[in-house]
Amino acid sequence: MSSIVVANSLSKQYGKVNALCSLSFEVNEGEIYGIIGPDGAGKTSLFRILTTLLLPDGGNATVDGLDVVRHYREIRRRIGYMPGRFSLYPDLSVEENLQFFASIFGTTIEANYHLVADIYRQIERFSTRKAGALSGGMKQKLALSCALIHAPRVLFLDEPTTGVDPVSRKEFWEMLQKLRTEHGITILVSTPYMDEAAWCDRIALIQNGRFMQEDTPAGIVKSYKPVLWSVKSRQMHELLHDLRRFNMVKTAFSFGETYHITLSDGLSIPQLKGHLETCGHEQVEITPIAPSIEDCFMELMNQTL
């Protein structure tokens, strides 16, 4: 497998703020590579450097073997880019938008229709509607079609699912999977939603301009060191306070209807249960649980603090 995107100690500063601190990674051809982290972690800066829109302050990167600084013109021909905000022309119709983006890449809708067909067909019946009047989900599909219409080698999607509901997000990821398996397009995608890691082949967890870890989602979960327990009782609200007050509990975070906790060495589960029951908790349930990417992310944040 060859690397289609290679970054070597990329750095970027804005004034005194380090947006990116010496990032190095490689993306293999034909994989979905997720860059996962909160807003302000440096995702957009990274994408802009790789799409030749920003100059790095240090390090270098290549896309499809071309240097992002020196060969920016050629790279721009080979990539598709979907920035974070809705970036289409709201006063042009659906079809006019697609046509426009096809023609600025010197191609036509017909030439690459097979690539976008699955996605575009879902909005085709609105082809004369102004893009500004589309619903969020439809805008997203149009934007993806526009980024794909010139058959790019690599697709850069910067937070395509931010602010999108879980159902539409799932649909969107299914579209991406299809693009990868059926057309072999390499996809770099950034997201603040940790649960979307599952859709990626490999992911990087980014925080404060640094990759805290980079691996397959399973690999990241595997390397999670502590033993994680899920706790619940009838008095959920008080439970969190009691867990935090107990000095043998290392971390306690709410996770849906339970709390995920890690314990100091030497504390057994019956001991913890006993402690909680003396605090007045009833129906205490403590079960071992496999960590999610979000657990891993928080553990890594904890380590880097």
Binding site: R48, T51, T52, L53, L54, L55, Y72, R73, R76, R77, I79, Y81, M82, P83, G84, R85, F86, S87, L88, Y89, P90, D91, L92, E96, Q99, F100, F101, S103, I104, F105, G106, C146, A147
Partner: protein, 369 residues
């Protein structure tokens, strides 16, 4: 080339689909022309007139009465000497002074040829000329009456000698046409074009355009082409409106006029481009353009006559492209001079355009920062 044309077509879509933009681009030039044109041809009522009568004879009294009863004039005062009248002028109490020289009636009856002096505020050339016209008409009809029944001797007449205060040359009332064109082109080529470029930055579409293989110069050219076309349409519209509807002549060469207009359009477009490279929001682009448009309004002669400005201000005005254009356009259109008399203006404008294009292209970024 096809990429370029699609882009231009897209720009026209943006323009045609926004009714406010359309209003500014196509309707406003017409409205402005009509507005200024109407201001020229309109009646000037209630002119306040003062009389300085050195003759005090029957004839001067009759003429004064005639003016006083005329619906367009109001007789305000009589002064003993001209300097007193001029002071009233300065205080803004009167609009016009009629001075009858000593022995007016005697001169008239004996020589048959006499003159009155009109002092008029020339800082409003349009009104001044209308007032002169009215006075002339009053004099003429008075003469007619005086001679009613008798054969009129051609040698017997009263000649008003007009002395303009503040604006002695009294530039033609048609000055507004070059002024309006100068202003409109600045508005469309600098303001509207810079806003349209910056809009792509603000909405994020510039990010996609820059990440595409389109050369940045093509993006810029394609964005400017529609404004160039619209600017040309506007010149044609304004010229036709003023020629056919308001009878404004084209005294000089139309060809030269269009030539210098073209250079001016390019200057304005490059200004627009420069603005768009300096700012990143539409609001900032608009404010910066206004900073340029306000002086243009001043130096286009629409608000004040250039000639009555202090020298210092006139010197400052030399860095405003509109000033050079309006000056050349006036010479060509109204004074009807030959092309060689506007060489200086043409030279300055060409130099400005060249500099602006160089600066803005060197500032234009092929990346986001």
């Amino acid at each position: 080339m096809k990429q370029f044309l699609t882009f231009v077509r897209k720009e026209f879509f943006h323009i045609f689909r926004d009714s406010r933009t359309m209003l500014i681009l196509l309707v406003m030039p017409v409205v402005l022309t009509l507005l200024f044109g109407y201001a020229v041809t309109t009646e000037v009522k209630d002119s306040r007139v003062a009389v300085v009568d050195f003759s005090k004879d029957e004839l001067t009294r009759r003429i004064t009465d005639r003016l006083a009863t005329h619906s367009y004039f109001t007789l305000c005062a009589a002064y003993e000497n001209v300097s007193a009248a001029e002071k009233a002028f300065l205080r803004g109490e009167i609009d016009m002074v009629i001075v009858f020289p000593t022995g007016f009636a005697a001169d008239f009856h004996h020589g048959g040829n006499t003159s009155v002096q009109l002092l008029i505020d020339g800082s409003e050339p349009n009104q001044a000329s209308v007032r002169t016209g009215y006075t002339e008409k009053v004099m003429a009809s008075f003469m007619q009456e005086l001679h009613s029944g008798k054969p009129m001797s051609t040698s017997m007449q009263i000649i008003p000698e007009v002395r303009m205060l503040y604006n002695p040359q009294l530039k033609s009332e048609y000055n507004f046409v070059p002024g309006v064109i100068g202003l409109i082109l600045m508005l469309i080529c600098a303001l509207m074009s810079s806003v349209s470029i910056v809009k792509e930055k603000e909405t994020g579409t510039m990010e996609i355009l820059l990440a595409s293989p389109l050369p940045p110069i093509i993006i810029i050219l394609a964005k400017l082409v529609p404004y160039f076309v619209i600017a040309c349409t506007n010149i044609a519209t304004i010229l036709m409106l003023s020629y056919f509807l308001m009878g404004v002549p084209m005294a000089g060469s139309l060809f030269c006029f269009l030539g210098i207009s073209l250079v001016y359009i390019l200057a304005c477009l490059s200004l627009g481009l420069l603005i768009s490279t300096l700012v990143s929001t539409q609001l900032a682009a608009m404010l910066l353009s206004l900073l340029l448009i306000v002086p243009s309004l001043y130096f286009s002669g629409l608000a004040f006559p250039l000639e009555s400005m202090p020298t210092a201000l006139q010197n400052i005005s030399s860095i405003v492209p509109a000033r050079w254009y309006v000056s050349a356009a006036r010479k060509l259109m109204i004074q009807g001079v030959e092309a060689r008399h506007v060489i200086r203006e043409l030279g300055v404008l060409t130099l400005m355009t060249f500099m602006l294009i160089t600066i803005s292209l060197s500032l234009f970024k092929k990346r986001l920062e």
